[in-house]
């Protein structure tokens, strides 16, 4: 009945989502930033960040999710993530070796340590998160795709 006016799921789901989605996003970011210290890392963090967006899309409908991250935004982010990762690897080449960790490593178990590893993690998270979100969008709303493409 209320479907036409109000996209998404019921009020209960929406309320729960509103409460949890921030926590999910935060957990994803935590896993991402602590990738070099604790289990997790760019891939796992990226997946969880993407899942928080998927969560929003399921509960509130696609328009709300596209306000946060549009399809073209996701595509751009994916490309940037891959290029950033490659740039870190190639910058290492300038210091002597492909994928060389050329930044000072810092104190072990500190948040700001391990040189280029956190940067690579962030790049992977961009790539994986945006990629997973795009795949989800492509699978769920195929009809939407042709209008998104030129």
């Amino acid at each position: 009945m209320s479907r036409e006016r109000d996209p998404g799921m019921s009020l209960i789901v929406k309320t729960i989502t509103r409460l949890t989605v921030g926590l999910i996003l935060l957990f994803g970011i935590y896993l991402l930033l602590h990738g070099h210290l604790t289990p997790g890392g760019g891939f796992a963090g990226g997946v969880i960040i993407a899942l928080s967006l998927v969560h929003v899309m399921l509960a509130f409908g696609k328009d709300k999710a596209f306000e946060v991250l549009s399809v073209s935004g996701a595509k751009a982010l994916e490309g940037i993530g891959a290029l950033l990762f490659l740039a870190v690897a190639l910058l290492g080449l300038a210091w002597g070796a492909f994928f060389l960790n050329f930044v000072p490593k810092g104190e072990v178990f500190e948040l700001f340590s391990a040189g280029t590893i956190p940067v690579s993690n962030i790049a992977i998270a961009c790539k994986v998160g945006a990629g997973l979100f795009s795949i989800f969008v492509a699978l769920v709303i195929m009809k939407h795709e042709p209008t998104e493409k030129e």
Partner: protein, 500 residues
């Protein structure tokens, strides 16, 4: 042996091209073409630089992230590697030149170039890597990109072919992964040179035999050797013409033939049983491919079956295992890359002009498309082994090598298959380019300039390719590559002693 910093760029440049394309190519019109040409030109140039270095120093080594092997990933460039790199990147460059015109018919050109560059990065990676798991990863990059490229037209038939290809290809990859797992469990190392050392110091056993079979099936699937060939006649014709040229010209060789050579010669060490298996698979592929090609009416499908048959020739040369046999196989590999790409590009040009691939609906195209007809004729003559085209010399060498090794039966089969090859090539030329021009095709025009340029260059290589056998040129290009086979697992010893 020296260390060299250029090796990772072989993978890095096409990867950067792929993602820059994805980022910029959608908005800016000229960018995809420009990036495609620049990247492939760059990797081709790097290939030539490495050829110079390999001629001087024989083996180039690079340690990723300065981690010494066997802990870190090593990239190794030797004669065989640089030979494959030059073949792959030369064809890639010429195919990109062709695509600048041809792909204008499709929308989403940037997607095509992104996937193309990813495939190229994967192939270059498979060729340069010295780590067996790394090889699997690059294999998957190239293979997954090629699945998407086969489906690029998104017509029903193309999607079906791509699905079939994806299922078979993934199956092949799983065999390879399983082989890697067994080898890792057995030798506790993933570095190929280190693995060869462990096996040489008495580490071989039944598990190695099992892994050999798994690798043979996995890479055999990628190389489309006969019991594993079912996907190729669907996948190669369905792709856009430049991709057919890449798949048949270089992908089956980089992922299949090269990987088989690298593993069985440099890591496991070739044995009599393995050579016999390679010889048998090669002979069966050669015969089945040529017989099936004879009855095809779809121009690209005919060429696809011909690829199966020609890979059989290469495997026979490698199976013979004498220096001459190896040299002949490598030379035929190079020649096949050139003439098969040329023929696929030619068939693409015909399709571009007439809109059909069915030989029965063509005829007399030589009058309307003289350049396409001429270049396709050069490619066909090379494929059929007519002197003085390059294909003649490599087939001759394979037959001579078989006779020298006392394998008369194989030599006779190779000659008979070559005659049948001439038959289907004649069929293609007769129905396609000669004969009467149908009323429907009176108004067609020859193809745009860049397509012509690319086909002409390939035809030129077909005609002049025999010159690669001249002693001075052979020393630079082919002999260094065949030395890798002769060195066998000795190469691993040299690499590991350098590292330690």
């Amino acid at each position: 042996m020296i260390h060299n910093d250029l090796i990772p760029l072989m993978v890095g440049v096409p990867l950067a091209g792929a993602f820059l394309n994805a980022l910029l190519g959608r908005k800016l019109k000229g960018v995809p073409d420009l990036l495609g040409i620049l990247c492939t030109m760059g990797t081709l140039f790097l290939g030539f630089v490495m050829l110079r270095l390999v001629n001087a120093h024989h083996v180039l080594l690079f340690e990723v992230g300065n981690w010494p092997p066997p802990i870190g990933i090593a990239m190794v460039v030797d004669g065989l590697t640089v030979f494959m790199l030059l073949t792959v990147n030369l064809i890639a460059f010429l195919v990109v030149l062709y695509s600048t015109n041809y792909m204008s018919r499709y929308t989403q050109k940037w997607q095509f170039y992104s996937l193309f560059m990813l495939m190229l990065a994967g192939m270059n990676g498979v060729i340069v890597t010295g780590d067996i798991f790394n090889l699997f990863v690059y294999l998957e990059i190239a293979a997954v990109a090629s699945y998407a490229l086969v489906a690029f037209g998104t017509e029903r038939q193309e999607l079906e072919a791509a699905f079939k290809y994806a299922v078979m290809g993934s199956l092949g990859s799983m065999f390879v992964l399983l082989g890697v797992v067994w080898m890792y469990a057995h030798t506790s190392t993933l570095n190929m040179a280190d693995m060869a050392m462990v096996l040489r110091d008495g580490g071989s056993g039944e598990i190695v035999l099992l892994a050999s079979v798994l690798f043979l099936v996995g890479f055999g699937l990628k190389a489309a050797l006969v019991p594993f060939h079912a996907w190729l006649p669907d996948a190669h014709p369905s792709a856009p013409a430049p991709i057919s040229a890449m798949l048949s010209g270089v992908l089956i060789k980089a992922l299949g033939v090269y990987a088989i050579c690298r593993l069985f010669y440099s890591v496991f060490g070739i044995t009599w049983e393995l050579s016999t298996i390679l010889l048998t698979l090669g002979t069966v592929s050669m015969c089945v491919g040529v017989l099936l090609a004879l009855k095809q009416w779809d121009m690209k499908r005919l060429l696809a079956y011909s690829s199966i048959s020609q890979v059989g020739y290469i495997m026979i040369g490698i199976g013979i295992g004498t220096p001459l046999g190896i040299l002949a196989a490598l030379f035929h590999l190079f020649n096949h890359s050139v003439f098969k790409s040329l023929l696929f590009l030619g068939s693409g040009a015909v399709e571009y002009a007439t809109g059909t691939r069915d030989l029965r609906k063509m005829g007399g195209l030589a009058r309307r498309m003289p350049l396409t007809a001429g270049t396709s004729m050069a490619g066909s003559m090379s494929l059929a082994g007519i002197p003085p085209f390059a294909g003649f010399w490599s087939k001759l060498l394979i037959v001579v090598a078989a006779v020298q090794a006392g394998l008369y039966g194989y030599a006779i089969i190779a000659i008979v298959a070559s005659i049948l090859t001439l038959a289907y090539v004649m069929k293609m030329m007769r129905y396609g380019f000669l004969g009467n021009l149908p009323e429907r095709l009176k108004g067609i025009k020859d193809v745009p300039a860049m397509m012509k340029l690319s086909m002409s260059l390939l035809a030129l290589i077909c005609i002049a390719g025999g010159l690669l056998l001249l002693p001075q040129v052979r020393e630079l290009f082919l002999t260094d590559a065949s030395k890798t086979f002769k060195a066998g697992t000795e190469l691993a010893f040299r690499i590991m002693s350098e590292v330690r």
